[in-house]
Symmetry: C2
């Protein structure tokens, strides 16, 4: 079945994560994505381990469904080919440092003259304006600068980075939002535009209640472990073999929890009578809960809590996530057969549409896999393609 | 200037975070969003502290740019009004537990018959299919079940929740992606469809290299603090007044770092000669760096590192983020005047578009602020509206 943006042509000049995550999302939604790669090695992330039969598992997961065309953009011929592609494209996505595309003669001003319907999305660390615009950025640095690390961690002394590259990934999804809204707008105006996404902007936009709390109170929020700032107990609790999460949103769930862990003394304790008082006495309450639940394994408690209708859940390792019946039922783990790597398992698309479903259709390309196909379509001859190859244009 | 989806009519039946984050994004992009709220108190998050002149700072930040209509959906009249709205709408977003809308007689099957162009987006914890579909979900529980907590934290013994409600927020942004792509598709097909977004699916889709590493190696990744699994030093380092992030992606940056911290002994140490050997000896290397940098404050080191072109950055508190020149230059902190709360500062939109800019236009509504305006437009009389009020339909 066709996806919602079936047939939209995307030129993907991105590497590693933020940009590729965006074009992966567009490919899943039905776009034809042509990934432009350096002839010598391609996307840096092709070198990121672990590898499976020499193919990077990381690269393969984020570049499924795309075609690969190698192009040396420093050569005149390479730029000529790119401009031919741009003249027929709907969208171009790049995640170079601001200024690089312009230096190559491929800036938005130039390309939008060639194709006024082009939607040009630039994804960068700090964006195409502002005093830090030209600085390099890495996910770690943006998570730190954007404030997320200052509110994540076991306590105030241990600011903590999120375990996946959230700053890159949010830039990827907000890029997709910008492009999709610009595609809709183009249906009305007939014109494309520039989408300028900064990892730092994205971080600021997802700080959630931390900003509200600070702007009203003037006090900087700090990491508070796995607790909730205003509901208790709403936290991770230690069991004999790990942790589970328990979420008691009201007094009756709290009483129920005390029953399940056989602690009538806690239920009767005046310090823990209301949500407000439980929040206040969390430094006493959490150790008491840890002590009670440490006697039995997570699975035991989760079953008891489910039976008692107390919201709770495991802290799943990746292996558990990927074997979870709900994850499998929702088609969130997809198996593809890659021409070199063989069978690979990658996450599916979380965008579930009833009529034009997103789909993970094809494995990631090997470097330059679609050179001939794409160049022939552009009108180049077999002889020209052979010349491009021997002169290292492709 | 009009936004990219200017004039798109959104019925917003969401509360708290995942749904409201989605409809906020749509409002910023130009949609007319009507938020449907319970007459007795409205969106639960109106009660979330801190409050400013009695208005929740949290609610105000996520509901800017929307209109509020109170409706008792358990009353026949309330449902009648909702159906009138739906018949003129482009999009409906809800984040009830699966089944609730159907029970109210407002399920997708029913509403799509009334308005076949309707795009109906349901955002829930586990989605509208699969064995856990009807379970309640909280951000904490989904972060745990989805694997993100198992790879976040200082070390393997401390799985850690991200400090903002990432599972809710990702569901919000992927909902926006689903809706925008369905809007584009409707331009071609003339028909709406259902978008079914699950917080758990979203978590699986952003686990990044953890999935690749596990599927190839069969070994579960664990939290590794603020270090990088395969680049070193690429980590937070202790200073006299906090931490900074330092990212040495290659050997020459490493040598430069040793110069700046005046540790020629480290530069000469065979254990730290290559990136590979530095990764292997990170348990020795990190304490050595902490020891060296502990002597001076963060600001001192950041200046030295910037001058030496070694990528580095602060771990900003929220107050620093909101005063950062780049954040301000990118218009990521917006001041609005709320009719009751007065001046409020909220994060801006990270979707920067050149021709149809996203904009934070209006403050969040007070409960039922737009009842009269909306109902008059639907053709109800002042008398009918007064009756709705006295019978608590609105």
């Amino acid at each position: 079945m066709p996806g919602p943006i079936d047939g939209i042509k995307v030129i993907d000049m991105t590497r590693v994560l933020a940009g590729p995550f965006c074009t992966m999302t567009l490919a899943d939604l039905g776009a034809d994505v042509i990934k432009i790669e350096r002839p010598d090695g391609g996307d840096d992330s092709r070198a990121f381990g672990p590898h499976q039969n020499g193919e990077s598992a990381y690269f393969m997961s984020i570049n499924r469904g795309k075609k690969s065309l190698t192009l040396d953009l420093k050569s005149e011929k390479g730029r000529e080919i790119l401009i031919k592609l741009v003249s027929q494209a709907d969208v171009l996505v790049e995640n170079f440092k601001p200024g690089v595309m312009k230096k190559l003669g491929l800036g938005y001003e130039t390309l939008s003259k060639i194709n006024p319907r082009l939607i040009y999305c630039a994804s960068s660390g700090f964006g195409h304006s502002g005093p830090y615009s030209s600085r390099p950025a890495y996910d770690l640095i943006i998570q730190g600068m954007g404030g997320l690390m200052s509110i994540t961690g076991p306590d105030a002394s241990q600011p903590t980075k999120v375990g996946s590259s959230i700053a890159d990934i949010f830039a990827g999804v907000f890029s997709a939002i910008g492009i999709l809204s610009a595609l809709y707008s183009r249906e009305k105006t007939g014109r494309g535009q520039m989408v300028d996404i900064a990892m730092l902007d994205c971080m600021v936009s997802i700080l959630e209640n931390a900003v509200a709390r600070y702007t009203v109170s003037g006090v900087d929020p700090v990491p508070i472990g796995n607790c909730h700032p205003s509901i208790a107990p709403f936290s991770s609790i230690k069991t004999s073999d790990g942790f589970i999460n328990v979420a008691c949103g009201n007094d009756s769930l709290w009483k129920k929890l005390c029953e399940i862990i056989e602690r009538p003394d806690l239920a009767a304790d005046a310090r823990y009578e209301t949500n407000h008082s439980r929040c206040e006495h969390m430094p006493d309450l959490l150790p008491a809960l840890n002590e009670s639940m440490r006697s039995k394994p997570s699975a035991y408690w989760l079953e008891k809590l489910e039976t008692g209708h107390v919201p709770a859940g495991p802290i799943n390792s990746i292996s558990h996530v990927l074997a979870d019946p709900q994850v499998l039922a929702r088609n969130m783990l997809v198996e593809l057969t890659h021409p070199v790597a063989g069978k690979v398992k990658i996450p599916g698309s979380p965008v579930k549409l009833s009529e034009t479903p997103a789909e993970v259709k094809l494995p990631a390309p090997v470097l330059g896999q679609h050179n001939e196909e794409i160049l022939l379509k552009l009108g180049y001859t077999q002889q020209q393609i052979a010349d491009f190859k021997s002169t290292r244009v492709i």
